[in-house]
Amino acid sequence: MIMPLLQGLKITFLHMFKKPVTLQYPDERPNVVPNFRGLHGLKVSHERAKCVACYLCPTVCPAKCITVEAGEDANHDKFAARYEIDMLRCIFCGYCVEACPVDALKMTQEFELASYKREDFVFVKERLLEKK
């Protein structure tokens, strides 16, 4: 009955000399793995967003947080006139990236999304493009 108790004491004592795993966050940065699912980014090619406003991502999104409105440009090409993701509802599942037929969407390693205002969590097209 006493030996297991002493065993426990020994384990905690030995752990005291192990190197702590704590990451001192603002000073030390974590290693974000490449396939991390962070903030979305709209890919750019030929000086414009690749998105063709096909509505597949808002359809597949389980949280229903993507809003797309199509527009037509001078070449009669479809493009996303409005593209918004509500980060407060997004669950970072990555289905939108999977669904996109033209590979216009990606997820970045950006994870510091805290903000003071609700409105700031709605990422509009311009803000998503910046993080390309």
Binding site: G8, I11, T12, F13, P20, T22, Q24
Partner: protein
């Protein structure tokens, strides 16, 4: 009264100085015990503990104190106000005054006047030895049991079910473990033949060093020492015996309704109790302030007390909390019989071995 005032003036100066030093020492230890506890437990869980308040988090206790100081005082409407307000004090004071009889060093000589480093004592040049409270151990036991009133009052006066349950648990637990702790000390009485802490410490000095400590004198006092320490931890409600404030069941137990400095007082009482218990264990079992001569006695005393405090934290980092029936079973069915037999065994040992 005349006898009290007849002592030389140096006595009163020394007394005030000793009280101040001991009080400040305990207060500082209490403040930094919270820090040390978080650090020690942190490292045992492969974490760092507080790091960001001051250098390596050293200002954390001060920051915590300031924060608690500026918190809002909440007194529940349904509470019994007077008892509610006085309870933290009743918990805090006994924790501190036990230190009055604990010898924390040898005699020091100031301007030809010998001062024993024990608050409630005086050096009598006519007899050539230190006179102190001749029932010191009983005084400590008495003060330790007074502490429970604070907790029970807090639990009852808060008028909340969690507090009441916490207070009830505290009283039952403290009373059951006090018995075993008291019986464990009886073995020491048998060895020392005295209740005065000064005598007990002097008896442990001897020429054999560590072997002179009561803990290592014979197997039965060793057992008594271990049981006394465990029972003391149970008596001051520390993990793994912290049922009166079991967060998982009772929110925060008896201090659920407390806030601000009143809450801080309970916390201080808990840590001050820990310091006191460690000091008592040091005095009774670890040879008090005696140690190799290269360090002064009070340093040995502090070192031993801090080692025991470390043990308390170590135990806290290791064991999960007992269930209440397990706790009671341990107290009444394991520790009490063992200590009872132990008293007899110690007596036989003294009779046979001498």
């Amino acid at each position: 009264m005349d006898a009290l005032l007849a002592l030389p003036p140096m006595y009163y100066v020394a007394m005030v100085a000793k009280v101040l030093i001991a009080f400040v020492f305990v207060l500082l230890t209490v403040a930094y015990a919270t820090y040390a506890e978080r650090k020690v437990i942190g490292f045992m869980q492969v974490r760092l503990g507080p790091m960001r308040t001051g250098w390596y988090g050293l200002l954390q206790p001060i920051a915590d104190g300031l924060k608690l100081f500026f918190k809002e005082e909440v007194v529940p409407k349904q509470a019994s106000t007077f008892a509610f307000l006085i309870a933290p004090l009743i918990a805090l004071v006994p924790a501190f005054i036990s230190f009055a009889v604990i010898p924390f060093g040898g005699n020091v000589e100031v301007f030809g006047y010998t001062i024993p480093l024990q608050i409630a004592s005086v050096y009598d040049p006519t007899v050539g030895r230190v006179l102190d409270l001749n029932v010191g151990v009983l005084y400590i036991l008495g003060m330790a049991s007074l502490g429970v009133y604070g907790i029970v009052l807090a639990g009852w006066s808060s008028n909340s079910k969690y507090s009441l349950l916490g207070g009830l648990r505290a009283s039952a637990q403290m009373i059951s473990y006090e018995l075993a702790a008291g019986l464990a000390i009886v073995s020491i009485f048998l060895m020392s033949g005295s209740l005065s802490l000064n005598q007990i410490v002097a008896d442990q000095a001897g020429a054999f060093g560590v072997a002179g400590w009561y803990l290592f004198r014979n197997p039965f006092t060793f057992l008594a020492g271990i049981i006394f320490f465990i029972c003391s931890i149970a008596e001051i409600n520390r993990t793994p015996f912290d049922l009166p404030e079991a967060e998982t069941e009772l929110v925060s137990g008896f201090c659920t309704e407390y806030s601000s400095m009143k809450y801080a007082m309970f916390f201080m009482a808990e840590y001050a109790n820990m310091v006191t218990v460690c000091a008592v264990t040091t005095t009774l079992f670890l040879g008090g302030w005696h140690g190799p001569a290269f360090l002064p006695g009070w340093m040995w005393f502090i070192a031993k007390v801090y080692f025991l405090i470390f043990c308390c934290m170590w135990i806290r980092a290791t064991y999960p909390r007992y269930r209440y029936d397990q706790l009671m079973r341990l107290g009444w069915k394991v520790f009490l019989p063992i200590t009872l037999v132990n008293v007899v065994a110690t007596a036989l040992w003294i009779m046979v071995v001498g």
